[in-house]
Amino acid sequence: MSKRRLKESCGVSAECISQVQQLLRERFCHHSSAPDKLFGLEQQYRYLLELLKRTTLQGESNSALLIGPRGSGKSTVLNRALKNLKETKQVKETLLEVHLNGKWSSIAQFHVWFQQFRLLQTNDKVALKEITRQLQLENVVGDKVFGSFAENLAFLLEALRKGDRSSSRPVLFVLDEFDLFVHHKNQTLLYNLLDVSQSAQTPVTVLGLTCRQDILELLEKRVKSRFSHRQIYLLNSFDFKQYMKIFKEKLSLPAEFPDESFAQKWNDNVQHLSEDKAVQDVLQNLFHHTKDLRSLHVLLMLAVSTVTVQQPLLTAAQLQEASRHHRNDSRANIVHGLSVLEICLIIAMKHLNEVYDGAPFNFQMVYNEFQKFIQRKAHSMYNFEKPVVMKAFEHLLQLELVKPLERPCARAQREYLLMRLLLDNKQIMDALQLYPNCPTDVKQWAASSLSWL
């Protein structure tokens, strides 16, 4: 649709809608773009801010771990604290930052967060080069680090040893996915960083971010002794009332939105939505499954994408639709796309599972079960040749609805490979209910497993 036609169709301009879309998309997709508000994380934020302040201003060495489930706002809190801290010029000139990630971080996070490259630090060698590069030590030429692994380590340690508390710039090491650093050989990098933080050298602060609760048990004893056991836990410790508040906050437009009257209308609508019973049900359902705010973002994102010029305000129906998309059972969707023969095979497997109490089966058993069904039925419209049935079975295998117990080797015949069905009974029955044009006798056969024996 062209822009002009859009404008004519409704009172709200297309630009306005696109601004809303852009603003909210940025909010939901870039978790890092400094959030307006921290929900229930004030205490952790203050702790972290104090810690970083002492590091930069007094040159105190520290180490701490931020622990919390995925999506609980670990990086958000850290970014917020760093942003706040760097507002003063003095700090900005003082603090050196090194960001390391245990694994590849997505391109999107890459640019927005620190305009610095974060690379795959899969072993200490790469991590060390990255540290040297980010610190811009003197063995860095351009963007390349020279020297062997051993030389790099010696060089870095020497550099850190020469510094002291009051005269050198403090260094902040942020180790994202901290648990992956634990698996490096001998935990050399962790030992050295923590050792520097515990000795009178360059002031460093080591911050680890992880979602594992048992992280301390993974550290070697001497590494653990050097870690100062400051653990900051981020648990989504809000209840549903606060969750509703977060929902409102996330969906509202800010005061500096250009079209004020529309922003007012939008925010009123959000307020109205939050009191709607249907919306509350949708949110309650999501809240019961996960308190992760990222899931909420995905849901809202799906809903906001459906906002158009024709329908500029979000409705409860749109949210419900989004929730349906969000909470779809993926396996059931696959079953909907199968042919009747494949469905029949799945039902045969389900019966085998029920009769033999979940024991593994092979193609021959499934085929026999299927044959029994056809023989009982007078008109055998599903009387396919065995190769055709085999083909259908292999299709199920490709979709991973069926999985062999062990890797298939060349010697074993395909008919006699032991398999398991990767579907639950409930899933099969639910899918059958929704299956378009399901033959009645197949439905009956599915419902009654034992009567056919």
């Binding site: 104090e50 201003l57 105190e60 779809n328 990767l422």
Partner: protein, 395 residues
């Protein structure tokens, strides 16, 4: 490496702040890095090591000493103190002059790099590991009339282990040679390291001069804190005692003790902003101890979402039914659906349950198999059933 690169961290443009209050002063002194001139409670060990090195220095012979103890008992600090005292004595001509070299197994990328570092300390040459080994062997085996004694500290000795143990063998073989004048102080954590991982010929060269550092008792820990806080009135006596008793009961690690005290001053400072007096009390210390030692699992479960909690309950139910502490997701899912029916909540789809399961697995409340088995993936609890019950009940 570019030639003549100087390893250095940039200097700061603004001077670091000086401690402004009593608590900040205390925090500065309590930092682990603020090692005192002489370590309290380690006088005996200090004397033993000092005598050992001194006698070897005077005789002009070589020798080895093996020092062991759990982390945080002051091994490295004591050895450094010994070296410092010896250097002072050598400067005032009471002892013959000596060289001092230190390597740390953890700071090497490979055991063979030890040769490179030692050679660089001694002669300033930078060569490859194999070449360095040859040069060092030559250096220690040929008589040099004017050679000074070398004191070599090998920290984290167990990291120098290789399959053939040639690094350890060489290190302990050099002092036995007539002209080497090499004194080695080897430091590691375990007491029986020579018997456990070393070959006989290596262990025999290490010799029997051994010393083990015992974990600190609560009185010693108390003394350590008090000595650091001398002249600063920031802590109540009882608070110090509580920290020392707690830490001594757990590990006897002095680092832990100092960290807790430091955290306690922060908590106290925070409370002071609300107008409380200026002294670390029992309450602050208790809070710090809680923070550092408490198990996070219970809290994690209490803050989990409803279906995550039901999933844990379903696991318990399934364990009780089967009598085995392991179940497949499918079995747990059936229990989960049943529990939802009892509670009157709409039961989740399999996809949702799998998501719940993997979330719990990511926090390591559960131990999971590889994900590709889908419904047949086996699940196990990573904490005791009692803990789960306790966490779920109190609501």
């Amino acid at each position: 490496t570019p030639r003549n690169a100087t390893p250095e961290i940039p200097r700061r443009s603004h001077a670091a702040q000086k401690p402004a209050s009593v608590l900040e002063e205390a925090r500065l002194r309590l930092h682990v890095s603020a090692v005192p001139e002489s370590l309290p409670c380690r006088e005996e060990e200090f004397q033993d090591i000092y005598n050992f090195v001194e006698s070897k220095l005077i005789d002009g012979t070589g020798g080895c000493m093996y020092i062991s103890g759990v982390p945080g008992t002051g091994k490295t600090a004591t050895v450094h103190e010994v070296i410092r005292c010896l250097q002072q004595a050598a400067e005032s001509d009471e002892l013959p002059p000596f060289q001092f070299v230190e390597i740390n197994g953890m700071k090497l990328t490979d055991p063979h790099q030890a040769y490179v570092q030692i050679l660089e300390f001694l002669t300033g040459q930078k060569v490859t590991a194999t070449h360095a080994a040859v040069l060092l062997a030559k250096l220690f085996s040929t008589p040099g009339p004017k050679r000074k004694t070398t004191v070599l500290i090998v920290d984290e000795l167990d990291l120098l282990w290789t399959r053939k143990q040639n690094v350890m063998y060489n290190l302990f073989d050099w002092p036995t040679q007539k002209h080497s004048k090499l004194i080695i102080l080897a430091i590691a954590n375990t007491m029986d390291l020579p018997e456990r991982i070393m070959m006989n010929r290596v262990a025999s060269r290490l010799g029997l001069t051994r010393m083990s550092f015992q974990p600190y008792t609560y009185k010693q820990l108390q003394q350590i804190i008090s000595s650091r806080l001398k002249g600063v009135k920031a802590f109540e006596e009882d608070a110090i005692q509580l920290v020392s008793r707690k830490v001594a009961a757990l590990s006897g690690d002095a680092r832990r003790c100092l960290d807790i005290c430091r955290r306690a001053t922060e908590i106290c400072e925070f409370a002071r902003q609300k107008g409380a007096p200026d002294m670390v009390r029992m309450a602050h210390v208790t809070e710090a101890i809680e923070e550092m030692f408490s198990s996070p699992h219970i809290n994690a479960i209490r803050n989990a979402s409803l279906h995550e909690q039901i999933f844990l309950k379903a696991i318990l139910a399934e364990f009780r039914r089967a009598g085995v502490e392991e179940a497949t997701v499918q079995q747990v899912y059936q229990q989960h659906v049943a529990l939802c029916r009892i509670e009157g909540i709409p039961s989740p789809t399999v996809s949702d349950t799998m998501a719940v399961c993997s979330r719990l697995g990511a926090c390591r409340l559960l131990l999971l198999e590889a994900n590709d088995k889908y419904l047949h993936m086996r699940v196990r609890l990573n904490l005791s059933q009692d803990d789960v019950l306790f966490a779920l009940r109190e609501q």
